[in-house]
């Protein structure tokens, strides 16, 4: 019997989690998957808890996924977005947080354009803070759902070769994937235009592949990142057309792979830019399963940060059937 795995107040990054903590979250997500398959998708695990989804950046997928996770665990939720709120009136992040705190909330899910914003909040308020993506730093629940999806298909993460392709420099998804996958023993590579590979990335323990053909030759899983249009405007790449030609994941490229390659994408996709439609909709694409797993992983994170015990997750799920 191993020592019981415990969690801190917040989930701001995967860098600070241990392999055991990550495994525990993935394990707890397993039984929660089934809840979303029921006709009545609700268990009382977080009944009476108040959760605020504080989204300073536009988001559909992540916000909705968190909201489903919260509601399926019976929490009371409030959504605040940047537009039309005090956020837009110039209230500082810390003041917004303290005001919410004064209304006696239990948890905050925060998405913010600035790296470190989740940590900033976590250091200043007693509620649990969950990072829903901070700038170019981390997006821990995305990293977790990617790992859960890989684990579903390959059985284990350890020893698997995962290449993250695209704009690594600006990607919080890349950083969370790198930390999480390395902690669970995967081999990790990154591949993209050299202008979008951050300096010193090798120091994290990943290898850098210069050409996407090399990535396809090497990897068992490709995690294809969204290429934001702003990167072209800022001069990191000359054009989307050229990006697609040299770095896009196409059927023709994948056909040359020595093995079947699983395809992940955190969404939203730019079809025809970083990924061709035939790949996105093809037999090895796990993109929609990532979305399904996102809800389960977020339920697991909410449950564990609220003090739920890992070994009770199965029981927590059954309570509603009594």
């Amino acid at each position: 019997m191993t020592a019981r795995v415990t969690f801190g107040k917040d989930l701001t990054d995967l860098e600070g989690l241990s392999a055991d903590q990550i495994r525990t979250i993935l394990d707890v997500a397993e039984p929660f998957k089934e809840i979303s398959e029921r006709p009545i998708k609700k268990v009382p695990a977080l009944r009476g808890k108040t959760i605020v989804n504080l989204f300073y950046e536009p988001s559909t997928r992540t916000r909705v996924s968190f909201e489903f996770a919260e509601k399926r665990l019976s929490a009371d939720t409030v959504n605040i977005s940047g537009v039309g709120s005090s956020v837009q009136k110039g209230e500082t992040l810390v003041d917004t947080a303290r005001n919410l705190e004064a209304m006696r909330i239990d948890m905050v899910v925060v998405r913010h354009r600035s790296s470190g914003a989740a940590q900033f909040l976590a250091d200043r308020i007693p509620s649990n803070v969950i990072n829903g993506g901070d700038g170019q730093h981390e997006h821990p629940t995305q990293g977790l759902l990617d790992m859960l999806t890989i684990r579903d298909h390959l059985g284990a993460i350890e020893g698997r070769r995962v290449c993250i392709v695209g704009d690594i420099l600006h990607s919080r998804v890349a950083r969370s994937n790198i930390w999480g996958l390395l902690k669970l023993g995967a081999e990790v590579a990154v591949c993209g235009p050299p202008t979008l590979i951050p300096p010193g990335i090798e120091a994290l323990g990943v290898q850098v592949l210069k050409r996407v053909e090399e990535a396809i030759e090497w990897a068992e899983v490709l995690n294809v990142l969204r290429l934001q249009l702003e990167r072209m405007e800022a001069g990191y790449i000359p054009s989307l057309r050229e990006y697609n030609r040299f770095f896009g994941i196409s059927v023709a490229r994948l056909e040359k792979a020595p093995r079947d390659i699983l395809i992940l994408h955190p969404g939203p996709m730019n079809r025809g830019v970083e990924i061709d439609s035939h790949v996105a909709d093809g037999p090895h694409s796990l993109i929609l399963q990532q979305v399904t797993n996102g809800v389960a992983v977020r339920m697991a994170v909410l449950y564990l940060l609220a003090g739920g015990r890992p070994e009770r997750a199965e029981a927590a799920k059954k309570e509603s059937r009594e």
Binding site: E15, T92, L93, V94, H112, R113, S114, S115, G116, A117, Q119, F120, D134, G135, Q136, H137, E138, R172, R175, P198, P199, G200, I201, A203, L204
Partner: protein, 431 residues
Amino acid sequence: MSRPLVLKGGRVIDPSQKLDERLDLLLADGRVARLGRDLDVPEGAELVTVDGLVLAPGLVDLHVHFREPGDEHKETIRSGSQAAVAGGFTSVCTMPNTDPPIDDPAAVGFVRAEGQRAGFARVYPVGAVSVGQKGEEMTEIGELVAAGAVAVSDDGHPVWSAGLMRRALEYTQAFDIPVFSHSEELGLSGHGVMNEGPVSTVLGLRGIPNAAEDVAVARDCIIAELTGGQLHIQHVSTRGAVEIIAAAKARGVAVTAEVTPHHLALTDEAVRGYRTEAKVKPPLRSAADVTAVRAALLAGVIDCIATDHAPHHYEDKEREFDDAPFGLIGVETALGVCMRELVVSGCLDLPELINRLSCRPAQIARLPAGTLAEGSPADVVVFDPEERWICRPERFYSLSRNTPFAGQELVGRVVMTIVDGRSVFARGADH
């Protein structure tokens, strides 16, 4: 006129005279009247016993921001110059990037007059290189000097155009003043907020590569060579800049350089946790860079230490890292940080530290300071080189609190500071 003052029993360290021995010091009429063994106390003179303490020429800081006019909630010339004397500085050079900038003789006169009114450290204004610090039209540099400016700089920004830098390094020769350069290639620093390297990659913060400084320092050294003007490179932070300055000096280029206590003491690891008090330009660099700037200081490639004291209000720093302003304060911690990082660690001996904090900077800006030779201005710092103390920003004289050294133990503490023969600071229980 204040009473004559005799300081007895101290260890006098004056690198300008190669002195390091127990001597007494008589100050009268704002001058060093006598320096010698067992001086008699003249009638009517005040006697201060300073056994076990170091007496040195008052420290000289070539790089401070006192924020007045324009941002008096961050610092004023009064609060800044009071903080300076609490840190042992008796002469300071204020940068012109205020609101409005110090780009005309009236503004220079205002800074000087405010400094004199405050009556703490001697405040020497540095004028702007370009009108409005916009990097276009050269200021009336002769008028600025006539009004009391001791150098020109567009600090806060680099001198954007190489052509303007050329004209400034040529024109200033008529007035025998240096151009202080914040050497930064904005095309490379871009929207960066910290040093570019493994730490910025992990934190997901935009990086400023060493090359942003190296390229600009190289440009400025080449223009100094072209013109023969006196160039002073501010806040050197990279190993590349050190090599470029060393090579320029070897060719005989009239270039001098300063380094800040924070670039001598801290690496970009200090930013982890998104600590905005460690957000500064140039950014805190890698360990290899810290090693290089220390070695360069020891070797004389970097001439002096200057603080780049940059006050910011609490609420401006208490926010997301991307949105917080660059800068940290330094006049009240400089001696303690330098003693800890350089003297205790054995990198520099104490007389050499005094040289780099007092004599050398005074020479660079041609200030009447940095010496206790008889007849020179009676500007003296008295400090305990052994005292260990905890840095508590809430006790600072500065109006701002933004220091990355809060809570740390520093070594060496100012006991008394004398300007113009008058005690302007004596440490009490509260500070």
